[in-house]
Symmetry: C2
Subunit: 191 residues, 2 copies
Amino acid sequence: MLYEFSDIIDPRRLPRRMKYLQYYILGLVDGEGCFSVSLKRQADARFGWVIDPIFHVTQSKEHRVILEILRRVFKCGRIIPKPGEEDRVYQYVVDSRRHLAEVIIPFFEKNKPIIKAREFESFKEIVYGLERKEHKDLDGFISLLKKAYEMPGERKYSLEDVLMQVRERVGASETIRRAPPGGGEDMVQHH
Amino acid sequence: MLYEFSDIIDPRRLPRRMKYLQYYILGLVDGEGCFSVSLKRQADARFGWVIDPIFHVTQSKEHRVILEILRRVFKCGRIIPKPGEEDRVYQYVVDSRRHLAEVIIPFFEKNKPIIKAREFESFKEIVYGLERKEHKDLDGFISLLKKAYEMPGERKYSLEDVLMQVRERVGASETIRRAPPGGGEDMVQHH
């Protein structure tokens, strides 16, 4: 039995071995987990937007213990009330890129999602791309952006709008950079 | 590897052993499955209502294969388009009481839900109660009804309304039964 969880749950309620608990977690995450990549406007980011991968699992407050189990198994992440539903829903959230790359992704590489297989593959490529700093140049950034938009889920902004804004911004800073010395700030330095 | 599934999914996408697949299913069902007991008006039922336990798992049409896997593991149940969302959502449904009592409940007795522990216990008590025909007399029926109403989920009718209707109906048939011979049908016999 998994006595190491006995301070948070009666171990008789858990699968008997860590290996089994891992497959339970795989199934739970395949159903209810979320490998998401959000896109946030951020004025001081190089291209005006930040690509933000997050792994999260949502659960009613009543069953928060399951989120504690996840946190203990993964040894990272945090549990927070879900914004907008603070009084009744909690989330286990991992958004540290290091934890995603070193803990979460290797776990689901070993225990592969079935339903969320494609979603996980895109998530993995984006996290690894960010780890390799591909988002630091324009082509890499656009390629990661397009990968994010291939993932399921609703988006506040269309890919076209974001690309247009990114290109306008790059164009503007290019123009400034090409201006004669003293004719303006080199905005590229700032981003 | 689980080659017995290779006609529906590449077995490399599945957990390597049946035991692991069972824990995957436990996790999936604990997150997304539903042990529900619906209550249906039915004029020719003894008390005017039928207590109807159903186990189901819902999935988008795109990932229907996961429902096929469930059907193959449980060797019972059926897959149907979800009423009202036929074009994009499917459900794996087990509503045969024999299959619930002999397959589904024993599986989740062995592989216990954590999140849905209480829901599953009530479901089990109700299915076993129906199997023991407790719903055939009024006290047993009311007790099963109350158990169903203790389960989470929205109800179209309040328990009070249903109980009132049940009692009115029993009262009416009692009255008829007590009426002199030839004074009316013995409705109890019909139900």
